[in-house]
């Protein structure tokens, strides 16, 4: 039984999909082949329309989605950290820069790291620029992600939800993906949003399951 919040999000999802042109619908259609990460939590910043649409898409596809507003403190304290204290679990989302910065920094303590990070920035002419961060080995999937996001036009956030939910397990956090820079790059017309996946790294964290006293 969907909660009231989920019901509203499904409504938003329906309206977003209805508004999407055919090309964008096609962009939604694909999915990753092979095993994908099982997501413990999908968080989205509902203060942005794109965040709400992302959440609605995630909910409609059965993801354990959680609206976080403009900061991730509550979901961190009540859901993510208690879960990570028991062991690693993959999270994904669409948030603002600051929320992702906090989650990336906190994730390091638990031996978790960024597998996939896509920056979605308004270009000022009504368009959105999508920049994917990731190690070289991700290039095929990055390219696929970028193509689909670009093809989706204004409906990119639903595609972004699809992408993080189809992130292949073969992708692992890469040390070359540095901590998100809090500074907003020049040449964009407004705050960026980020879709991302955080998964267990090879390097264990100082905290988490392994850190328990023997």
């Amino acid at each position: 039984m969907p909660s009231r919040r989920e019901f509203i999000q499904r409504g938003i999802a329906a309206s977003v999909l209805a508004a999407c042109p055919l090309t964008s619908r096609l962009a939604l259609a694909g999915s990753s082949s092979g095993k994908t990460y099982r997501l413990f939590k999908v968080v989205f910043d509902q203060t942005f329309a794109e965040g709400a649409a992302f959440g609605a898409e995630a909910v409609s596809r059965g993801a354990p989605a959680r609206a976080v507003g403009s900061n991730a403190g509550s979901v961190w304290m009540n859901e993510i950290e208690p879960r990570w204290k028991r062991g690693p679990a993959v999270i994904a989302g669409l948030t603002g820069r600051a929320s992702l910065f906090c989650l990336e920094l906190l994730a390091r303590d638990y031996g978790m790291g960024v597998v996939y990070r896509a920056e979605h920035s308004p270009t000022g002419d009504g368009g959105i620029r999508h920049v994917i961060t990731g190690p070289e080995s991700l290039s095929e999937w990055q390219a696929e992600s970028k193509t689909r996001l670009t093809a989706a036009g204004q409906c990119w956030s639903a595609v972004a939800a699809r992408m993080v939910m189809n992130c292949p397990e073969t992708l692992e956090p890469d040390p070359s993906i540095g901590l998100l820079d809090l500074a907003q790059p020049a040449g964009i017309a407004g705050p960026s949003l980020f879709s991302w996946v955080i998964a267990p790294a090879k390097r264990p964290g100082v905290l988490g399951e392994r850190a328990k006293r023997g």
């Binding site: 942005f48 991730a72 403190g73 929320s99 920094l105 809090l182 500074a183 705050p191 264990p204």
Partner: protein, 533 residues
Amino acid sequence: MPQPPKGMSDRDFQAALRRIREVAGSEWVFSSDEDVELYRDAYSPLWGEEEERVASAAVAPISVEEIQAIVRIANEYRLPLYPISTGKNLTYGGSAPVYSGSVVLDLRRMNRILDVSLRDRSCLVEPGVSYFDLYRHLRQEKIPLWIDTADPGWGGLIGNSLDHGAGYTASDFRDHFDAHCGMEIVLASGEVVRTGMGANPNAKTWQVFKYGMGPWVDGIFSQSNYGIVTKMGFWLMEEPEAALMVNVTAPRRQDIVPLLDILTSLIYSHTILSELQVMSPIMNGSPDPELVRLRVAGAGATDQEWARYVESRNQPCWAASFCFYGAPKVIAASWEHTKDRLAVISGVQFRETASYTFPLTDEQVDAVADKPRLGIPSLNLFGSRNSPTARPSEGHLDFSPMVAPRGEELLALTSVTGKVYADMGLPPPFVGGWIYHRRGMIVFHPVSTYRNAEDNQKTRALFERLVTACAEGGWNTYRIHANFQALAIQTYGFNNGSLHRLHETLKDAIDPNGILSAGRYDIWPKHLREKRA
């Protein structure tokens, strides 16, 4: 590969790490580039420059015994260690050591909440316990006590209090070092000391009475490098029946004087218990040329000029916010009394912004807008940068001069800082005062840092001028990023720096090999002092 500390051979460095691995377990000693990267200061004003302060390795012990063994090894090799608790105090240096090449002693694994006493309203914790951890524990156990959280809440109770951090609830708890009661410290020799009543092995009052007997030494372990604090007690606030958050505005610039005089009177008479913030919606507005001119003019701008400007903006010049705690009847009476006292300010306006009765449900907690005032840890400081209209900020340093909570002081200081900014061709900074500590007010503003050297050079120059100009005006910073600690300590230079010499004398006596946190608050061990001279 990370470099060993200056003057230490790689052979000795590797030998010391091998010995430390035997103590802590190899999986808890981190020495790869990737490992060390995690201990960088994310907001460093020296990011990527040769002088950026970086660790050579890190070790995460699990017990006091492991720490004792590690410091004994460090003494043998003169290996500098840099203890951190949660290491997330980004605006003041994060987990990066002051002395490059130090090995970070990462205490995050020591994160047990050892005791919570409902009857004594106290707790005893290890260094890795964060505000999130303790809050969650109290909620889960349904213990009707509040923490006083730093903001953001990812900090550790011990680290924050040792750095003189502060929070937002009642005055007995906001000054986090003032609210501590009892410590356990591993000295540089490896010896363990308990302070206050904890020196009695049978003590039942370690978290009840601070002083014990003899000189009270706890203070020398704050903002210092004399020992590794491994346990600390804190007093906790009894959950009140209710809380009321309020906002008071005053229209004219000169109103700040009676506004703060009356509000501090209400604080000192315990009518207002919470932290109090006073901001200027006018001065924090968009920096148009007239505002810049008025702010830089300081005393040269007349009340009439300010009045004309304020009137043109159609906003109050000042807005104060604070909170009442207690039984509803007490809150109502306190608020009425506050309004009566402030009514002498013509045009003053009052607004209730939120009210709560406790305990709160989880959903109610989630919905609280100003969480830290109710002792709820959050990441709101970051969240505010996340709003649809806000431009995400770069990293920043906290510039935190301490002033007496008087309107004249606030105006004088902001005039000085405004001039520093103007001289550097920059718009004037944010204007606001925070009364966290019992008697002082911090006139804080953030100074941005970047990931490029050119901008950071300007930031450092600006920050240094702010520190110096404010100290000349009689306002010292109470706490400062590691990069500026030496400069700040110079501003505490009475009698040719006698206080600093005392700090060094203590350092030489307590940590003769200088293995702990070299350079923290400009306290250098003798061998490094001599090299720096």
